[in-house]
């Protein structure tokens, strides 16, 4: 506003903090480099592209370390529309890490299939850039643009297996529903913009209180904005795309969607809810309550009946989103509850990312041999791939919330936020979550049972050869899951530090 007002008379060059923007800039650079290399490199030399992309991601993560070590100062730019704080750093790190793991997972997959390699990495990196930008965006326009940047490549990636009808369909469904929901979200944003008279989140929070006569408009605005991101995080009833898309998309992309894209949705929700709409708890708390309850329950119940592992994981990720929504529902306007809700959501996201990625990595590894996505194809895995079985079991246990795999701490954090709120509604939701986690255990352990107990379906016991990159990915994720499980303190700190709005 100040800037804009001055601009009316005289253009002032914005002060950009290039140190804070370093990750974004490096990533952009990498995108360009990869694109150019793809153009100029010989077909036989293109194997370097993933390495360069991976190297680029790690390089982009480097400034984060620097920024984190620098101290806890909040680097705010362009009138508070773009901020680099602990929250942003943590999530940027998460996204880059996730991106790196997905890259490792994709490596051989893309090589062996008939895909456009260079462009694949461009898409992946672009989407990643969108997410990184999302972590710092503190204004409606930035959020919108970041959302689109992370979505559009994702729509395309879902259809990357061009000759596969399922992949096409996945892409189409994802695209159509995605665009529709971003339309709804935009409509909501326009209403919020109208009511608050600003697009910067910090200011929206203050402004909304001053226009009580617009409460209904604001409520609808908030709701529509939430719808846009509820779609992204695949909350019921905006989840319909997820199972179909996950099933159809190439598996590394599915992993990416289910983890990074979902996390990005939550990042946006966190920023919007806990900065912009903080004062409007009456509106969004019940909304999230219903969303959370529906999401957990429907996700888990439908997952019970799945026979395809990816589809099962899709519904599982729907249900997991429900757990992450729980803290939103119970964060009242009491500071402590808000704090604890954010911590819970953040911690859950961190852990969820690791475990879900890991699970998909296993699916990928197993599918290399079985060429099937059916749960029954995991039969007797233990007999010929004990390592994978054990690791998968760790991930499943984590998803189900069984210590010492990390998942328990995520659930724990959620329950903690529920009790921190302490209201009747909160506890009711906690009970729903508890019941759901039991239901969930059933289908997770159905897979475990398949692997450990059931016979090998086709009696083919040739061992699975896991490529090095995939092994690295598995190693990383399983290490994270176990470390969190045993030393959750580390991550709890992270979650605490990363909370917004202090």
């Amino acid at each position: 506003m100040l800037a804009a007002a001055q601009a009316a008379t005289d253009f002032v060059t914005p002060k950009l903090d290039y140190a804070a923007l370093a990750p974004e800039m490096i990533l952009t650079g990498v995108i360009v480099v990869v694109l150019l290399l793809d153009l100029f490199l010989d077909e036989t030399q293109k194997y370097v592209i993933p390495s360069i992309a991976g190297f680029g991601i790690l390089t982009a993560a480097f400034p984060l370390v620097f920024l984190a070590v620098q101290g806890d100062d909040v680097r705010s730019m362009v009138g508070g529309a773009y901020v680099s704080d602990d929250f942003a750093l943590v999530f940027k790190a998460l996204f880059l890490g996730t991106g790196y793991v997905v890259l490792l997972m994709s490596n051989r997959y893309i090589d062996e299939g008939d895909y456009y390699k260079g462009e694949y990495y461009v898409m992946l990196l672009s989407s990643l850039l969108g997410m990184v930008v999302m972590s710092s965006s503190r204004d409606l326009i930035s959020i919108f643009v970041a959302l689109e940047l992370l979505s559009i490549p994702a729509y395309l990636l879902a259809g990357w297996r061009k000759r596969d009808l399922k992949s096409n369909e996945a892409s189409l469904k994802y695209y159509l529903l995605g665009v529709l929901s971003s339309g709804v979200m935009l409509y909501g944003m326009s209403l919020i913009f109208g009511a608050a008279g600003t697009t910067v989140l910090e200011d929206i929070s203050a402004q909304l209180v001053s226009v009580p006569q617009l409460d209904k408009v604001i409520a609808i605005g908030i709701f529509f904005v939430v719808v846009g991101f509820a779609f992204k995080v695949s909350a019921v009833p905006f989840h319909f795309w997820a199972p179909d898309t996950y099933e159809g998309a190439p598996t590394p992309v599915t992993a990416f969607l289910s983890v990074a894209s979902k996390a990005a949705g939550f990042v946006a929700l966190l920023q919007l809810v806990f900065i912009a709409f903080l004062s409007q708890g009456d509106t969004w708390a019940p909304l999230f309550w219903v969303l959370a309850a529906l999401t957990m329950t429907v996700g888990n119940l439908v997952a019970l009946r799945q026979t395809n592992i990816v589809r099962m994981l899709a519904y599982s990720s729907v249900a997991q989103a429900g757990y992450i929504l729980v803290p939103f529902a119970v964060a009242g306007d009491e500071l402590r509850a808000v704090q604890s809700a954010q911590t819970a959501a953040i911690v859950y996201l961190l852990i969820y990312s690791a475990m879900n990625l890991g699970a998909f990595a296993i699916v990928l590894a197993v599918a290399r041999k079985t060429r099937s996505g059916e749960i029954s194809s995991f039969g007797g895995l233990f007999q010929y791939a004990p390592g994978l079985t054990v690791v998968m079991t760790v991930f499943l246990a984590s998803l189900a919330g069984v210590p010492p795999a990390g998942g328990w701490f995520a659930k724990f954090a959620v329950f903690r936020s529920v009790l921190d709120a302490g209201t009747g509604w909160a506890v009711a939701l906690g009970v729903i979550a508890a019941v759901n986690s039991v239901v969930a255990a059933f289908y997770y352990f159905n897979v475990a049972r398949e692997m450990w107990i059931n016979p090998v379906p086709d009696e083919d016991r040739t061992p699975i050869r896991v490529p090095a990159a995939l092994t690295t990915a598995l190693g990383l994720t399983v290490a994270v899951v176990l470390v969190i499980g045993v030393f959750p303190g580390l991550f709890a700190d992270l979650g605490n530090a990363a909370s917004l709005g202090r």
């Binding site: 804009a4 601009a7 914005p14 995108i31 529309a81 461009v122 689109e148 609808i220």
Partner: protein, 163 residues
């Protein structure tokens, strides 16, 4: 401001009818043409709201580019150029109910919030201010959107090309 009101009335009527035709017509090409009318109407509305720059962009980008894209799309997918009986699926009733329900809810809420608010156009928005704003406050999204367009371009080519 009766002139503006009249202009709005005309524009709104044309847009409403055209919009309805876009979603009801049995001819695919007609739909595209009705869409042009709606988009042009939107440009007119922008002018009424003193946003000339935006109006021009609207015409250039939408009518000049997007509608053409649509027409290419119609052509490439060999859609029936004449009247086609089954352009709609079987959820017409549901669609109508949902749409009208939404419209009712939105209308009521908007009326509840902005029922008697007058619009005062004090000044015509200058393009220069728009530019300054883009390059100061919104410079990050601006840069980001360039990457977006690049990615969309590359991606669309990869997906759409025959191989």
């Amino acid at each position: 401001m009766s002139g503006a009101n009249v202009a709005f009335g005309v524009l709104a009527a044309v847009m409403a009818v055209s919009a309805i035709r876009v979603v009801t017509t049995k001819n695919v090409v007609h739909a595209a043409l009705y869409l042009v009318l709606v988009l042009a109407g939107v440009a007119g509305i922008f002018i009424l709201l003193a946003a000339e720059f935006l109006a021009i962009v609207q015409i250039l980008v939408y009518i000049g580019a997007i509608v053409v894209l649509f027409l290419f799309g119609i052509m490439l997918t060999r859609a029936p150029i004449g009247r086609a009986p089954d352009l709609d699926n079987d959820q017409r009733a549901i669609g109508a109910v949902v749409a009208m329900f939404l419209f009712g809810v939105l209308g009521w809420i908007l009326y509840d919030g902005f029922g008697d608010t007058q619009l005062q156009l004090r000044d015509v928005g200058r393009s220069g201010d728009v530019g300054a704003s883009i390059f100061s406050t919104f410079v990050v999204p601006f840069e980001v959107i360039s990457v977006l367009l690049l990615a969309a371009l590359v991606g669309a080519v990869v997906i759409a090309r025959r191989d």
